[in-house]
Amino acid sequence: MNSEQVIEVRGLTKKFGNLIAVNNLDLNVYRGDVFGFLGPNGAGKSTTIRMLLSLIKPTSGEMKIFGRSISKDRKEIFSKIGAIVEKPDFYLYLSAYKNLEILGKLSGTDISTKKLMSMLELVGLDKRYKSKVKTFSHGMKQRLGIAQALLHDPELIILDEPTTGLDPQGMKEIRDLIIYLSREKGKTIFLSSHILHEVELISTRMIIINRGTTQVEGTVDELLKTDKIKVTFEIDKIEDALRLVNESSWQNNFKSTSKNEINFELTKNEIAELNKYLIEKGFSVSAIIPVRSLEDFFLKITDGGAK
């Protein structure tokens, strides 16, 4: 993969009075990445995105996009970025089509009717192109938000929680669209989210922030796939099973137990092995429930973040 750095952020900090919304944040996004920017509510995701897009000024820190400074090369940089910041807002008194037309013109390209309609079709709004945005549901606005971000065929797409408010079908469509844009169109995508699962499904690299600072960072494979997984086995004859585990080499993987459950820490391969082992010994395993340590960790900080 090409290693050209698309977003480079060093020591980014934003204070609102006494509150430190973003604290000494570093970001590295490379061309072709689907970069997951994870964090619970209030973690500082939107604030970071606002700074990246120069809607607000950092208290301190350096930012470069496409290797250039935004304050100097604003126009060139912005002509190659499409973005959704926070919830998608439009001119409510204008039609979906007119909104896109205006935003397209501001992007410096006179976009043809055909292109506009195909954009609306892409997000499933082509039948409603004449309707005023006032009449749209939140999910429809979110879809229109995606359309406006893609309008001018940008290289870098920054999406701030693009799936909030969408139904499961809509969420999947957006995920598929992001995967398509990344794989087929070679776009770089910066995706903020508070849903680990969502990021896991589509991202290549990710960072988790909380209270404005980095908690974990790496490729999704590193962080999720090769990770030792906490697994809960639901099993009958729990006492016999525990005895067996303690007498075997599996005791190294043993973590804890409760009611009819035993918790282990295992790799993927080991799950299958242990399952086979228990069945061979005459136990019946009614469920295997994986809980990844990262997910655990994320839940913990999400709890903390909500306070």
Binding site: L53, L55, F78, K87, D89, I102, K105
Partner: protein, 278 residues
């Protein structure tokens, strides 16, 4: 830049508030015209009472010019209300709607965005005044015909038919300058808040307070009167004096122009530095 201004105008003319001024001016003008059409003869006679002996008046006094002048006098004090209705919303409306996030993350500079707003505001003032001129002067001339203009100010003056049109042009040009000042004040306030009501009320409050202050016959207040922009706004009247005092007009024009440039500069400076939190 032209694209940006056109976009601003498009947005403006898709909003209801934009038409309030246009409809109000239309209605008021038509009402005055109707009233004068039916009772105008008495009205002019009343104005002329006692004069018949001293003047020999040739021609129709209840003509288009007379009506245009009357409507201008009646409406000009109300036009600031109509202007700030649009001006107060020009920037605050984007904040309320959250659309700053959409437009300021495009390859246009904030300077361009704010400048296009000011230009659009100025164009609205011009459109509004042109509409007023068209209805009150254009339509009145067609309906009531032409003639000499009876002008009642500090004294009574009658201008010959060929000595009138330029006075209206001057008065309207000056009114455009005054109303642009009002428009720009409302845009300044509009850039500071996220709701259009505040700027509308504040701008009107300033105008009203200034007008009251300058009407109070206290030495101190009379001394600051020349420094209040509202004092200079009535200078359009000067064009209907027998001897137009150009020195006063230049002076007032300069003061209003400095206001306009100053207001634009301050707002631009604030707007470029501002954190967009809406």
């Amino acid at each position: 830049m032209i694209t940006l201004v056109l976009i601003e105008l498009q947005k403006m003319f898709k909003k209801w508030r934009t038409y309030i001024g246009i409809i109000a001016i239309g209605l008021l003008t038509i009402i005055v015209q109707l009233v004068l059409y039916f009772t105008g003869k008495n009205f002019v006679d009343a104005q002329m009472r006692g004069m018949e002996q001293s003047f020999v008046i040739v021609g129709n006094l209840l003509n288009g010019y007379f009506i245009a002048r009357l409507i201008l006098t009646l409406l000009i004090i109300h036009i600031p209300f109509l202007v700030v209705l649009v001006g107060g919303d020009l920037l605050a409306g984007e904040a309320t709607a959250g659309t700053y996030r959409m437009i300021l993350t495009r390859p246009v500079s904030r300077l361009q965005v704010i400048t296009s707003k000011f230009i659009a505001g100025m164009l609205y003032v011009i459109i509004l005044l042109a509409w007023l001129a068209f209805l009150s002067l254009g339509v009145s001339l067609i309906v009531f015909g032409s003639g000499p203009l009876l002008s009642i100010g500090s004294g009574i003056v009658i201008f010959a038919e060929n000595d009138i049109l330029w006075r209206f042009l001057g008065a309207y040009a000056f009114a455009a300058l005054s109303m642009t000042t009002v428009m720009f004040i409302s845009i300044v306030f509009s850039s500071l808040v996220e709701n259009a009501i505040g700027p509308i009320v504040s701008t009107m409050a300033i105008i009203i307070i200034f007008l009251i202050v300058s009407a109070i016959p206290v030495d101190f207040l009379q001394n600051i009167k020349p420094y209040l922009f509202t004092t200079h706004m009535s200078q359009w009247n000067n064009f209907f004096n027998d001897e137009v005092n150009y020195k006063e007009i230049y002076n007032s024009s300069w003061i209003l122009l400095v206001h306009i440039v100053g207001l634009y500069a301050i707002t631009t400076y604030i707007f470029i530095k501002k954190d967009i939190l809406s």
